[in-house]
Each structure stands twice: as C-alpha cells, then as structure tokens.
Assembly symmetry: C2
C-alpha cells in the first residue's frame, strides 16, 4: 500500500522513539538526559515538538517521582480520560492506585452548592486520602488553583504535582502559581497540555521502573 | 491571586471559545462556518491552532455525521481514553453506543497469533456490529489501514471515519489512504491527532444536536 511500511506491532513504539530522537538532533533540540523519557513520551503522544521548550522540571523531579511511586504513592487526576490512560497495573505493582473524583455525585453536588468547579472540590477530596499523592492535572486550572491555596494555607501538601492543564482561561497563570511553591513538579508552561499529556507523563515515570 | 481572573464554572467553556474566535480573527485564520464547532472544539482540547490548517472534511461531513447519530449509529474507537472521553449519555439519547474492543482478550489473543496490532483486529470486530458505525480513530494508523483494506476489498463499509491518529510511523500515509476512499470523513492530515482529539470531534458533533 502506498507509503505504508510494515513494522512489527511490538516494534512500532521503539521506532517512533528513534524517529523522535533523530528529529530532536536535526532541529538542535536538547533535552537533559534524565528528562528524556518523559519529554519524549509527551512528544510521542502529541507529535508536537513544542513541548521541548515549555516543559519544566523541579530539580531531581524524575528521581523524586520515581521514589514516590516505589513507596506506593497514589495518583489523583482531574479527568476520566487520564484515569483511563494511566497504566493502573504498572502503578498497582508498587502499591499505588489511580483516583479521579470528577464523576463522584457528592463532588458535583458540593461544587454546584458552592459555585466552584468540580475540579476544585475533587482536589479537596484527594487531600483526604491520607497517603502520599502525585497529582496529575490535565484539564482544569481550577484544580491547580485549589492545590495552590491548600499549600500556601498550610492545609495540605501534595507529594508531587504534574501540572499540564490545557486551555485558554487561567491555564498559564495557574501553572505559574504552582511554580512558586516548594512542591516538586513537572509542568508544561503555557496553554498546552491535556489529559493525554498527563497520562503520558505518569506512564513514562512508571515505565522507567519497568514495564 | 496573581493573574487569576474569576470566571463562573458554567461560563469557562463559552469564554474559551470566545478567545479562540478572537485569535482566529487576529491571525487571519478562516474556518468554513459549518466546520467551526468541530475545529474550534479541537483547538479547545489541544490549545493548538495548527489544526485549522490540517483538518479536512468530506463535502457535507458535518451534516452526514449528525444524520448518522440521529439515526442511532454506534461509535467505535481505538482507545480506552477516547471511550472515556466521548459523551456516552449524549449518544445514547439517539440510540447509539460507544465501543472499544482494544481491551478484549479475544482481540489480544488473535492479534498475537496473527502478528498484527490489536487495533487491526478491533476493526474486524467492529465490522460485525451490524449497524451503521462511525469510526473514531485517535491512536492507531493500523486501524485506518485495516479499514482501508476492508473498504477496497468490498468486505465492509464504515458509515463515517474520524481519522485522527497521532504519531510517527505510518500515521500520515494511513490518513491519505482513507482520503482515497468514498467513505465520508473528518481527518487531520499529518502527524497530529490523538484520543483527546477523536473524543473532541465526536462530542462537537453530539453537542450540535443539543447538550
């Protein structure tokens, strides 16, 4: 068939990553070695090399996140799409679980009552989990804003924040708020991100610990 | 809080779409009126205006897809993330259902046996549904390749194809194959796309028929 090259199913991903590596070199784009598995998986998920320029990592972010996973941390996300996309079996191997409270009826009722987003209330539910939590926010800037309030108010401290909401209203500013805290992070500055990006980052970290 | 503007939860989406409309104008980007709800929702989901230049629609694509939904067509997708993202309640209102066969154990076993991807086998399962099917392919070019083979071989005719896989291996060529058929389509040419984009297109079509 025209333009179609046969690649064995088990080799498609490796081939994709090799192409990404080649093109990074061609365009003179440099990613620090330890960040490569994560940033490259985001490019793999989006076919968008812009992420090389906008993804920012706290010092030792990858090591910190991997340690948390090994210690059994849970992941909380703000969309059911990211919940579907994160490799739950890989996380469970280390004792962690993925949660998304967005479809919880109590969350919806409270959000309506208070005139806030469901994402805001979801973060408060997550703060009650009573174990280390990695937040993977792919959609709602209001989730990051509520986390920022809880951190600066001394109410709750997330173990780690993956902050990659996408969009046009408060998205950029919400990411900058998280960067002012001392919570370790992986953030994509600017408007881009998404539940697919949040899931890709979680999976990249998990796959660093073995498939 | 710095840079954060208060927007009522129920107004965030409308505000986002207004910003997208403004920036389209600023950049002199023109979208045909009937395609606007779909292309703009894709931009809303990705914060990526590149889609304006790469999304292509069959003549009357939107009308055709809406009619199919009204007639109770099912949607088949190639990822569990798109399955999670498509508004199943909105589709059910018209009698349709969303399917994803990727996690089916029989699909995995057959794919392994034949040395093909699970997406390939998934499309064959979908072809047995015995009702009009809108395909929403957000991940696997091999899904589009199998659909092309079935169409040209006279084995099966999808009612509609949303072809937006993302990636680096055979993605562009697989989309071009579908463009050669006479099946109505919405396709994003090039490498970009994803399960989030597939879900956004389905939801844009559903929301055109009422929330």
């Amino acid at each position: 068939m025209e333009g179609i090259e046969y690649v064995k199913p088990g080799e498609i991903e490796a081939r994709s990553f090799a192409i990404i590596e080649e093109e990074l070199k061609e365009h003179g784009l440099v990613i620090p070695e330890e960040q490569k598995p994560v940033t490259k998986r985001v490019i793999h998920t989006t076919a968008d090399f812009d992420y090389v320029k906008t993804m920012v990592y706290a010092p030792d972010a990858i090591e910190t996140a991997k340690k948390l996973i090994l210690q059994g941390a849970d992941i909380v996300t703000d969309t059911n799409m990211a919940l579907a996309g994160i490799n739950k079996r890989a996380l469970a191997r280390h004792g962690g679980e993925v949660h998304c409270f967005m479809a919880d009826e109590k969350v919806a009722a409270l959000a309506k009552e208070r005139g806030v987003t469901r994402a805001t209330v979801s973060m408060e539910f997550a703060a009650q989990l009573n174990k280390p939590v990695i937040f993977a926010v792919g959609n709602a800037p209001t989730a990051l804003i509520r986390l920022y309030e809880m951190i600066t108010g001394g109410e709750f401290r997330p173990a780690f924040i993956i902050g990659v909401p996408v969009g046009f209203v408060n998205v950029e500013a919400a990411k900058e708020l998280i960067l002012k805290t001392d919570v370790p992070y992986i953030i994509n500055r600017g408007r881009k991100g998404g539940s697919n990006v949040a899931a890709a980052i979680c999976n990249a970290l998990l796959y660093e610990l073995g498939r």
